[in-house]
Every structure is written in structure tokens, then in C-alpha cells.
Symmetry: C2
Subunit: 337 residues, 2 copies
């Protein structure tokens, strides 16, 4: 069995831990390909920082600070403290010492001519990842946020990280633009992984700044649409709020309700040209089940809070099961309601 997963940061990483657990506990050969978001990559102090790829790599490799939600566990911040004493800018982005090592070696390899996907593969070797982690593209794609200048009212676009980290997503966003996406090509292996997948998963990542940049790379959305595999998503919105992060600010900017139902409708039903066949909502969002089923989504509900014991495995198992249910429904031609 082959699974392709579109991944943002820590939410996707925690889902993937469960997926690895439940798939390795069976005897069937399984392979997981992760298509990692690189839209929030940024050059910091001359180094190439890939927050989402690293969240997946560190979490699956057992080196993440899952509590903080980014970076390495047992982290120290000596390099950053020294950089700030030199007056280095920007001063609003945190990078730990262990994390710096990743960015240093990545930048060195990129400067030596290796593609980001080759570099990611090399870095993953150390972490002995139980899956294939591939950046969505080796070409530069940057998520920028169009904000209104509070003084003049004039609009300007700033890097997603500046909006997210420096401004804590508090500057009202008018629009998200994925700079470079129109010229970007999917990294090698992605289209094949989607084409050959038995299941495609959209984990509980931010729809606007984690999943949308991946889908903005020409060819990826079409490959999903053409794939015979069921597409199952997990809602990143629980009880009307993002589980972590500030997805509500992002959804609001694009006119999507911050709800399990709103996000599913935003992704759209596959048969109507959208992304999803199945959708998993949290038990707190039961009210979304019936309306979504009425629209033809195949919906399941469960506890989706990954910090609860056993939940990431349970959600992963339910994702696999829902994928099978989609296939069954399709071949029988019957909706499940």
C-alpha cells in the first residue's frame, strides 16, 4: 500500500507519526511519501530555513520539541543571542543552536548545487525517517501576505513569516500569494507518488498557508484529481478554533468560516472538482457531519487532539478506514449516508 500525504508542519507531523505506527504494525508492505510545504521557507542570516520540512523531519526522527511546535528538543539559543549582539536583523525569528546546524548544512549543500529535494533526502538519512520526505518543489515558492498599511491604508505584501511570527498574524490580511508558484515544478517523485498512491491524505494542516502552496504548484492538483486513490482530509479546526497556530486569521482573510464544515467546503468535494472524498472531524464538531454528508462528503468523527494519548494512531487508522470506505462507496456507486 502506498500513501501520499500533503504536509505542513507540526499538525501533519503528528498525524504522520500515527500513520507510520499503524502501517508498520501490519505485515503488508506500505510506503509513505510526504509532499512537504516549502511556501514558508525563508532565508535567515543567509541560511535556508525550511520550517515545515524540518517539523516533519524532526518529529518523525524523534528530535522535535513537540510541545513548542517547532524546532528541536533540548534546544539552546546561543548562536541567536550572539547574532543579536551583533545587531543582526531580523530580530523576530527564533532559531535554536541544534536547528542552526540543519540550516547551515542545508545552505552549504544548496550552495554546492544540490537541489532542495536531494538535500532533504541527505538530511533525512541521519534521522532514519520511516517515509520519503520530498519538498513540494525545488523551485523557490514564497507565501506572501497582502496587508494594509495601517498609516496610509496602502497595501503591501510581506513574507508569511514576517506576518505570522513578527506580527502574530494580527495585521489584517487581504490575500495570500504564492510567489513563484506559477513557474515552479513539482519536485522529482511527487507526481509519481500521487499517481501510484492507494490513498492521498490532507492532514490537519493550515489550509491557506500549508496546503494551498502545495496545491499551487502546477501539476500537483491535477495529479490528485486524476489519481484513482481516495483523498481523505482531517479537519485542522476543532470546536471552531485552530488546534494550534492562527489558521482562523488566514481563513478569515480568504472568506472561509473557521469551522470543520467551512474548511471542508473550501477544499471542495472531489466529484465537484474539489479536493476531498472523505473528511474527518473532531467529536466537538458533530454538527458538521450531517450538512457535509448531505453535500456528498464521506464524513467520520473522532477525537483528533493529537496530544491526547493514542489519538494520532487512532486518527491514522480511521483515515485508512475512511479511504477504504470511499473506495467501496465508489465501486458500489452508493453514497454512505
Amino acid at each position: 500500500m502506498q500513501v501520499a500525504v500533503l504536509a505542513g508542519g507540526i499538525g501533519a507531523a503528528r498525524f504522520l507519526k500515527g500513520l507510520v505506527d499503524v502501517t508498520t504494525s501490519t505485515h503488508e508492505h506500505k510506503s509513505i511519501t510526504v509532499v512537504g510545504n516549502t511556501g514558508d521557507d525563508i532565508r535567515m542570516f543567509g541560511l535556508q530555513v525550511c520550517p515545515d520540512l524540518d517539523s516533519v523531519m524532526y518529529t518523525l526522527g524523534g528530535g522535535a520539541d513537540e510541545e513548542r511546535g517547532w524546532g528541536r528538543q533540548d534546544e539552546t539559543f546561543t548562536v541567536l543571542e550572539e547574532l543579536r549582539r551583533y545587531g543582526a536583523q531580523p530580530d523576530w525569528f527564533n532559531l535554536g543552536d541544534r536547528d542552526f546546524a540543519t540550516h547551515i548544512i542545508r545552505s552549504q549543500m544548496i550552495a554546492a548545487g544540490y537541489s532542495l529535494s536531494k538535500v532533504t533526502q541527505a538530511l533525512s538519512t541521519r534521522w532514519q525517517l520511516p517515509l520519503d520526505l520530498i519538498p513540494m518543489s525545488d523551485d523557490r515558492v514564497e507565501t506572501h501576505v497582502v496587508v494594509g498599511d495601517s498609516q496610509s491604508g496602502a497595501k503591501k505584501a510581506i513574507h508569511f513569516q514576517e506576518w505570522w511570527v513578527k506580527h502574530r498574524a494580527e495585521l489584517p490580511a487581504h490575500e495570500f500569494v504564492y510567489i513563484g508558484a506559477d513557474q515552479a515544478r513539482p519536485a522529482s517523485g511527487i507526481i509519481e507518488a500521487i499517481r501510484d498512491a492507494d490513498l492521498i491524505v490532507v492532514p490537519p494542516s493550515n489550509p491557506v498557508v500549508s496546503i494551498a502552496p502545495i496545491l499551487a504548484v502546477p501539476g500537483i492538483r491535477a495529479a490528485i484529481a486524476q489519481s484513482g486513490a481516495p483523498v481523505v482530509g482531517i479537519s485542522p479546526i476543532v470546536g471552531g478554533e485552530p488546534v494550534r497556530g492562527m489558521a482562523d486569521q488566514c481563513l478569515q482573510a480568504i472568506g472561509v468560516a473557521t469551522s470543520a464544515q467551512g474548511v471542508a467546503e473550501h477544499y471542495g468535494r472531489r466529484e465537484d472538482g474539489g479536493l476531498l472524498d472523505g473528511w474527518i472531524v473532531d467529536s466537538l464538531d458533530s454538527e458538521a457531519v450531517q450538512p457535509l454528508q448531505a453535500q456528498g462528503f464521506i464524513v467520520a468523527e473522532t477525537d483528533t487532539i493529537f496530544s491526547h494519548p493514542g489519538v494520532s494512531n487512532a486518527v491514522a487508522q480511521l483515515t485508512l478506514d475512511l479511504g477504504r470506505a470511499v473506495s467501496t462507496t465508489r465501486s458500489s456507486g452508493q453514497p454512505t449516508r
Copy 2:
């Protein structure tokens, strides 16, 4: 009064501390320009490392680990440990976390188009250096060591740091070559500082790998020769041994005796086309005084071990005094013996 100092690493840095101390305790305006060796600069993990410039900067700025002789005090090595876990090469060069910050910001500025001397000036600002630290050249000059291959006997050139750090200077050296020196230009301000100096100092740095690369930059040796200022050196050899480091291995390779007398004769008497007017030897090397005086060097002896209390100030004061003695002797036309 203006002093120009050719500087290697920690030996020069400790001398400079004394020089700053004794010159700031007088009311006369004094300025010190340090011409820093960059021949042992090396790119490590894609970052530009300048060991000698940093030794001077950290020591004068109060941030050096003077006991270890390189790098920062209160240093940690988390980044390097992580790089090694990624299998990063080379694995024989040590860089601390605080030190990494210097190399990161330096590399970022150089990549942005700033010259090494502009970058050095910017970095020095943080340290509030009481002197002007200028790299000998903004052009790349690399000291390489010609060694014999122990298997085949064939010669090859390796970077000085590889010879010094990886091989602990134990590979017999045939020759030292300063790659790029013939095309290098002195950094802005150096020729003027030498021309306008009232005193030029050659501190107790390694003659072969710290001072020689500076003198290999076209124009610097000539500017010293043409300067009206006395040139006073301090022997880096005490009691027939280098005070620290492995200068003996370097001197042996170029056929110079590891002695206070040998190094003075290697530098040469200025009136004979050499570098020095005056030479300070350690009290352990009294036997060098008479033969050197007989050759026309103006020689003084004192305790030169900078780890002894008060010694760097005393050596600096003696250097200033010896400079005056040289000027007096010159104007009277009388040698001092």
C-alpha cells in the same frame, strides 16, 4: 602617535592588549592600526572563518578564551555536535556556538557584497575595539603547505588549517605557499597606516604562517621599507621553543633555526633590505643579544611570557621605548652597541 601592527592570532592579540593599555594611560593621542593575517582563513560548512582576525577581535573586545588560544570564552559546541551527527565534513575543525554567530553574520555580509574589511569593521563595532582592525587584503589569500605523500612520496599542497589542525603540524612540510597573494591588493587604509606610522610592530606571531602571508601581499613590504618609522619585533621563540603553537615545524620547513636569533636573522636587518630595526627577546634567550647586536640589530631583553602578570604592558612599553631608541640611533648615526 600612530602605531601599525602586523598581527597573527593570540600572541599578537595579547601584545595588542598591552599596547592599548600603555598608550591609553598617556594623554597623547594615539591610534593603532592592526593589519590582520587572513592567510589561514578557511570556508567551513559554507561559512567564512577568519581565525586570526577573530582572535584579535575577541581578545581586544574581552570575549576571547585566552587560555585555549582561540575562539570565545564560555563557549558551547552544540552546532558542531549536530553538524557531525549529519556527517558534515571536515570533522577535524572546532567551532563553538558563539563563534559560529560571527561566521554566520560575516558570511551573510560577504554574500551581500560587502568586502571583508567592511565586514570586519562592522563586527568590530559590537566589540568596541580600541583600535582599527583591517584584514591584510579583501582578496582571497590562502596559506597552503606542501607536504610529501607518505605512501607515494609525491608532493601535494594542503590548506594550512588541514596541516595545522588535522595533522597537528606533524606531516613534514616542504614549503609554504600563499595562494592568491601575488594577485592580492592590500585592503584600504593599510598602506596609509604604514606610511603614516610612527612605529611599526611585528608582534610575537608565527613568522611563517602569520607574518609572511601579510608581507606576501604586494605593496605591504615595500610600504614598510619606505616608511620612516622604526620597525620593532618581538621574538615568538622563547628558550628555543614557540611560546604556543607549532612554529618550530614551520621554521624547520623553511630552514630557519627555532631560536630568537634565528627568527631575527630570518626577518633580516632593515638596513640590509630586511624587515627589522629593533628586536625584543625573552630573558631566557640572552645568548641571542650579543650576536644580533653584532649584526646591527637594536636588541632588548625582558620577560615576554604574556601569561605572566603585567608582562604584556611591559613588553608594549619596551616596544615603544625601543622604537624611540631606534629613531635616536638613526638620527645620531650611531649603533647602540
